[in-house]
Symmetry: C2
Subunit: 136 residues, 2 copies
């Protein structure tokens, strides 16, 4: 079941400048960065419980965020719903015809399980579903 | 001061279908629609306190959302920060060089005061600042 809006992710071309922007100019709380190998991003976390804003930046200059930045320069990249049972949500949504970017979930930030729904299934919005890990 | 992520807005080409999607497929709570003359949208509200997801659809088939849909088909349109003093936030951000889409705030949904920051000031993200009305 979807239980919350987990985060929205913004792809940024200059991570340090954007961290500064959201901290200093908008006054959001900053909770550090994490390299997320599976997504090939460095992610900066701004917790606004129960949701958060995440800035995503290409790890080693490559991967899907690098391609997005090349094409668009920056922008809102995806939104993420939190699930208490990701396998069940995937099955239900597949039965309704939703297409996913992978067969099953992979490992996300903070030991979570994540999967992405294809934007064409959702009015052009890239939607992630995330089941938090035990340490979340 | 920015106090919360007020909402994220998704531009949708078929409002009824997307309301159904977020209600039935994702199981989000639905709180009705409102015609927002100033933004020329019909807006559907999915409260996820203290934030919400808003679906925006062109009122009378025209306005900025109609143009966005023509170009992009649909997608995440903007995010909105809640302010407890919008005039103060505008002055602070203008002093830091942020450009706005209007000189001062105008009336938004639910009697709020709203203003938009130009996406070029913010890595391609359209950011609204919203000070809730008394009835919020």
């Amino acid at each position: 079941m979807i239980t919350a809006l987990d985060h929205i992710a913004i792809a940024v071309p200059d991570l340090e400048a954007s961290i500064k922007r959201f901290m200093e100019d908008f006054g959001l709380p900053f909770n550090g960065t994490e390299d997320v190998e599976a997504a090939r991003t460095t992610t900066a976390f701004f917790p606004l419980p129960p949701t958060s804003i995440e800035l995503v930046y290409p790890l080693r200059g490559e991967g899907p965020i690098a391609k997005y930045l090349e094409k668009k320069g920056g922008g809102m990249h995806h939104l993420c719903f939190r699930s208490d049972n990701i396998e069940e949500d995937i099955l239900r949504l597949k039965a309704k015809g939703y297409q996913f970017l992978s067969e099953g979930p992979s490992e996300g930030a903070h030991n979570s399980k994540v999967i992405f729904i294809h934007p064409k299934s959702c009015d052009g919005v890239l939607i992630e579903i995330n089941q938090p890990g035990d340490e979340h």
